[in-house]
Symmetry: C2
Subunit: 232 residues, 2 copies
DNA sequence: CGACGCTTTGATTAAATTCAATTTAAGTGG
DNA sequence: CCACTTAAATTGAATTTAATCAAAGCGTCG
């Protein structure tokens, strides 16, 4: 586990470092431990591990999943740079979910022991914003899952993903899908056959262009209309 | 807005006061503002309001909801004593959801300005636990919503609600349902007709006894089997 | 008592799941 | 580099389920 500086981090404006000046930035850097690169399929943490840290994605992408009592696996989320991971361990000190890399990825480790220091950086605002974002995404997803039509759920997910890409300074039309169709369908509460049909339908209608690792949005207007419900 | 003491609070062991001794308890009491009783239908806060506080439910019950772009209303959660409310305001300083009382209820106000003090009480552990619980419930609900069968979603909700009652020291079989069927169906991603049929089915099968404001669980085993997926 | 909102029940329609087969892509080793 | 093997994704047909449309009970409150 090597020390790592926040000064040259590409996701700096999205992370706890947002708005920090060099002296405070060094304080932050001293709290954070850079994780080594995590290869595709490797796990950042596992359900049941002692939750001693939270994580912020630095590059690549992760999926989080929970295993149910009956052995069923459920994909709870996909996580891109600047997003918080590992909050699930705060109830009883053990992670409830597992985080697996979808590509070669990396994440910064925020030891819980350093939280008070991180808190002081900007009066807790940065930390709260990150937690709030995490909670907001979960809530938005829950609303999306309540849509009865599969098309609406897929469209909602794509619109939401587009916003996250925009936040990263990338095009909101160019949506990376490093996850498998099976994972995505699972996350959206439908079978992979159903997801495949929806994507084919939207593709045929000219709304998107779907390929294995990327979905391009050709008509954001119609996609938003299909999603309908997402705020602003 | 009156001052209120934590010493004689019934939900004290579930709140930030958990494990605090009298001297520290007074520090906590000084941070917290007791909300006046909120009558059925009144709102604790509204979407768009400046988010200057979080809340912990003290008595009664609340529902939270978001209004979508197309005017659709979605019920994001139901909240019982000891549960955190109002975290949605942490991204941009304004609440994204509204909280409405389902019965005559009350909630303690945690001004954000006091969070650093609250944090110091027990090294942030109590606060993190409350946030973690909030996030955990959201995640559990999202998993539940992904079940294709309506019966499984209803059963999952009831099992989860039973656990929350148990946490309050009440029977896990006796489930209060102060919300309307419409609200519950909305929350569970189904039509009210569908919910009504599911409840009737479970009632006929002897698994539950459903009445307007309360659902009694007669067979926790079969209910858990229907829910299937919830961890432990 | 009667009006109103909420809930339940019934019949029909539409949609997603399931089961099954095919196509495409990816990874392996000669 | 190409053939081979295996996994992933798509497409098709039948079945099941929930949504929709419509009507009838309940319970509450003026």
């Amino acid at each position: 586990m090597e020390r790592y500086s926040c000064h040259d981090c590409p996701t700096r404006p999205l992370c706890l470092a947002a708005g920090l000046e060099p002296p405070m930035l060094s304080v932050l850097s001293d709290c954070i431990l850079a994780g080594r690169a995590v290869r595709r399929g490797e796990r950042l943490y596992r359900a049941g591990d002692a939750a001693v840290s939270c994580f912020v994605v630095r590059s690549g992408a992760f999926k989080t999943m929970v295993e149910s009592g009956d052995g069923t696996l459920h994909v709870t989320g996909f996580h891109f740079p600047g997003e918080l991971l590992g909050l699930s361990g705060q109830v009883d000190g053990r992670y409830r979910d597992s985080a697996q890399a979808l590509d070669t990825s990396s994440a910064c480790r925020l030891p819980l022991a350093e939280l008070p220091t991180l808190w002081r950086l900007r009066g807790g605002a940065s930390l709260l914003r990150l937690v709030g974002l995490c909670e907001h995404q979960g809530a938005e997803h829950a609303v999306n899952l309540c849509r009865p039509a599969a098309d609406a759920r897929v469209a909602g997910f794509l619109v939401s993903l587009g916003r996250r890409m925009k936040r990263l300074g990338r095009s909101e039309r160019c949506l990376p899908t490093p996850m498998s169709r099976t994972d995505l369908a699972n996350h959206l509460g439908m079978t992979l056959e159903c997801l495949s049909r929806v994507l084919a339908r939207l593709d045929r209608a000219g709304v998107i262009s779907a390929s294995r690792n990327q979905i391009t949005c050709n008509d954001t207007g119609r996609l938003a209309a299909l999603a309908g419900h997402l705020d602003h």
